[in-house]
């Protein structure tokens, strides 16, 4: 493993149950040491975090059998892999509009059209998808998402389907939530009212300030989208009602700054901001290259440290990459998959086909059936079995496998796993921040929901 050299984080992956080096015996590592002022051990199977004395840390690093045995007393096995077919999904996204008014250079959906002609989902198709979702809920809470393209290009369908789904869920006694991802440029007061009334989780794609955003997020005529997007969401940001509004920024290799993006979007009025590095998409020049990950980690760490200081000073958390990481570490989340794709979540394309997620719409390799024939249990199971972290390398040999889950399916299939060291480094930083804040700044964890 190549360690990311970033300030005080020097990843050290050690140990298997037999005390051999990782890979030598075939056993995956079951603990991971995080050096620092507070020596830590992360127990992989149950995502358990322990602090120890520097002496024990050194002895663990040296493979001292007594210390390894003592630590193993607390270890548990990894998350179980279900041996029964997956239940019906509880989340579905509808590609109401496989088209977009923007033409962002890096869009994985290729200007929202997923490589094909621009299409809109007929309302009856959307309603049938809602019927299947609600009928399969079995009393569980369901989520209906809208991701395009730009969904608001098919506004009538959106409003119709939301009303229909609300009534349908109420009649069935099924709790339902709604989410939407939009570029913000087409939001109308009627849309704002819809988001407020139905408790929407609204994700607005914006990359930062005017310059950072318009470098890639432009209309088809070449104009930047920042001003229109900000104007579009201004009313919603000023009074979100019961909606929860967040910004999601894509970071390209041309500008890997993170803190500045968070600051700029917070200045616009977003209470929550998350960032994601660009790994795939048509603009190869903007994608992250192998040499970009280490400096990007440093940028993430810089943004996280600034966030800790902010929250410690009494401000509300806003950098969701950090708060989400801390909450997952606090809970000890351990999962064999990176997301709910195919297991609890599927996407429905404009033509009524099921896909593993919103990113794989119209890619035959990810088709799971359609509304007529239903979701294919065989296809779902086969897809999941191939992607569980315990069944594939390099995930199986990675200490962070149950925190990471193996990475985005669509991205990994397209470009591999070049960013693993970054992911490990970021998780290590979050672990260190969690331990340090628990000891010295518990108010930070409380504010982020991680205590």
């Amino acid at each position: 493993m190549t360690a990311v050299e970033a300030d005080r984080w020097t990843p050290v992956t050690l140990g298997t149950r037999t005390g051999d080096a990782p890979g030598a015996s075939g056993d995956p590592p079951w603990f991971h040491l995080v050096p620092g002022r507070r020596p830590l051990a992360w127990l992989v199977g149950g995502s358990q975090l322990f602090e120890m004395t520097p002496s024990d840390f050194d002895r663990l690093a040296a493979g001292d059998e007594a210390v390894v045995a003592a630590l193993s007393d607390a270890a548990v096995t990894g998350p179980a892999w279900p041996d029964s077919p997956p239940e019906p999904p509880t989340a579905v996204s509808l590609a109401l509009a496989q088209s977009c008014n923007l033409s962002c250079s890096y869009c994985y959906a290729d200007a929202g059209q997923f490589g094909g002609p621009a299409r809109r989902m007929p309302v009856d198709v959307a309603r049938r998808a809602v019927d299947v979702l609600v009928d399969g809920a079995g009393g569980r809470r369901v989520t209906l998402g809208f991701i395009g393209g730009e969904v608001l290009l098919h506004r009538e369908a959106l409003h119709d389907v939301v009303a229909y789904a609300g009534d349908r869920a109420d009649a069935a006694g099924v709790p339902i939530g709604f989410s939407i991802t939009t570029n913000g440029t087409l939001v109308t007061p009627a849309d704002v009212a819809l988001f407020r009334i139905h408790n929407f989780a609204v994700t607005v794609s914006l990359d930062g300030d005017h310059r950072a955003n318009d470098a890639h997020r432009r209309a088809r005529d070449g104009r930047g989208s920042f001003e229109r997007a900000v104007a579009g969401v201004a009313e919603l940001l000023a009074d979100p009602g019961r909606a929860k509004v967040a910004a999601r920024a894509t970071v390209t290799r041309h500008d890997i700054k993170v803190h500045e993006r968070v600051e700029a979007l917070a200045a616009v009025g977003f209470a929550e901001v998350g960032v994601s590095p660009l790994r795939t998409g048509p603009d190869r020049q903007a994608r992250f290259a192998p040499t970009d990950w280490a400096p990007f980690l440093a940028e993430m760490v810089r943004a996280a440290d600034a966030e800790v200081d902010r929250v410690g000073a009494g401000h509300r958390p806003r950098f969701t990459n950090l708060s989400t990481g801390l909450r997952e570490i606090h809970r000890g989340s351990a999962r064999p998959l990176p997301c709910g794709s195919t297991l609890s979540y599927v996407a429905v394309g404009a033509d009524g086909d099921y896909w593993t997620c919103h990113r794989t719409v119209d890619n035959p390799a990810y088709r799971l059936g359609d509304l007529d024939e239903g979701l294919s249990a065989t296809a779902r199971q086969a897809f999941l079995d191939r992607r569980r972290v315990d069944g594939q390398e390099p995930c199986r040999s990675c200490w962070a496998r149950y925190l990471c889950g193996g990475g985005c399916h669509a991205e990994v299939d397209e470009v591999g796993r070049e960013g693993c060291d970054y992911i490990r480094g970021w998780l290590e930083h979050c672990i260190s921040v969690y331990a340090e804040c628990q000891a010295t700044r518990p108010e930070v964890l409380r504010s982020m929901g991680a205590s």
Binding site: G46, Q48, E51, D64, A70
Partner: protein, 344 residues
């Protein structure tokens, strides 16, 4: 030899879930207890002091065994007491003296009582103090006042005529009670400290007479959901607070006893330890000597307990029927009284 590992401090929730702490929770320790005296919250203090002198077991709590009129009675000699071994360096004759006492008790059932207590030049004789003598709780009060360090204990035995018939002098340390880390030392057997507490599951709490309750023994519970319960009828199913064992109609599935019935039943019920025959925990060491069952004595000190008798027998008369006790006095009258120092 490898140095011991740990502790590993669990930080996140999943780590805390897996942690198995050794020993009792912190709230069960003396240092964190809200200990009171009669009969105590987390434990009965009188049971702590029954081993105040290493190697001896002295009964203060049981009103029949200890006989309230007589002061503290030695119920056993415990030669396996670990503190006894520790005391050998400072009191080399103690073990031999206790061995002889143990042999004597095995051969002669007449009880040994606490006589003089000497510490730091202060001599207290619980049997003659104030000209009346002290009962078991009064004697316990004196024992409570002992400080750590050397103490001389004089045990007395009496003949049937009430005249002293023997004396044993023991020199040893007062027990420290706590081992390292604020834990009760290993001389106490499991259950020994709580054996005289009122306990809901033993049904004896109605006769407690002390009006407070062990903090970890609630007598209020949430009622069970009845199979035929109608939802929506207030209170909602399973949320109503009920006094334990005091079910009310229409769910009167447990008969509610009156005070007199309860007080009577508690003496005979199989689910309540019969007073006077409560077993001493003996699971610590196989060689532990069973506690002798004290034999009611016909000796009766004339002045000590006359005020406790419900009739007024002739103290010196051997024809007096067995003593009839009034209800034992609650002692001490207030929790603070127990901390009063004995004065010469």
């Amino acid at each position: 030899m490898s140095e011991q590992a740990g502790p590993f401090v669990p930080l996140n929730l999943s780590a805390r879930l897996q942690r198995s702490a050794a020993g009792n929770p912190a709230g069960a320790r003396l240092a964190s207890g809200v200990a009171n005296c009669f009969p105590g919250l987390e434990f009965d203090h009188r049971n702590l002091d029954r081993r105040f002198f290493p190697g001896l077991v002295v009964e203060f709590a049981d009103p029949v065994v200890a006989q309230p009129s007589m002061g503290g009675v030695v119920t056993a000699v415990d030669l396996d007491d670990p503190v006894l071994a520790d005391a050998a360096a400072t009191h080399p004759h103690l073990h031999d003296d206790l061995t002889a006492l143990s042999a004597d008790m095995a051969a002669d059932n007449r009880a040994w009582w606490i006589g003089r207590i000497v510490q730091g030049g202060v001599v207290i004789d619980p049997q003659t103090i104030h000209g009346l003598g002290l009962d078991s709780l009064g004697t316990w009060r004196i024992v409570r006042s002992l400080e750590p360090g050397a103490v001389q204990l004089v045990l007395n035995r009496f003949g049937d005529d009430g005249v002293a018939a023997g004396e044993v002098v023991l020199d040893g340390p007062r027990r420290d009670y706590l081992a390292a880390g604020d834990t009760i030392d290993a001389g106490y057997a499991p259950g020994e400290l709580t054996q005289s507490l009122c306990s809901p599951w033993q049904h004896d709490f109605r006769d407690c007479g002390c009006y407070y309750w062990a903090s970890n023994h609630p007598d209020i519970a949430i009622e069970a959901v009845q199979p035929d319960e109608e939802p929506g009828v207030p209170p909602p199913p399973g949320t109503g607070w009920v006094n334990w064992l005091r079910a009310r109609p229409p769910r009167d599935n447990v008969p509610e006893l009156g005070y007199y019935e309860t007080a009577s039943a508690i003496r005979t019920s199989p689910w309540c330890c019969a007073i006077g025959s409560r077993p001493t925990p003996t699971d610590r060491a196989p060689s532990r000597r069973p506690r002798p069952t004290p034999r009611p004595t016909s000796w009766w000190p004339s002045s000590a307990m006359a005020w406790r008798l419900s009739s007024t027998p002739s103290p010196s008369s051997t024809s007096t029927p067995g003593p009839r006790y009034a209800r034992p006095r609650k002692w001490p009258p207030s929790p603070t009284a127990i901390w009063l120092r004995a004065s010469p």
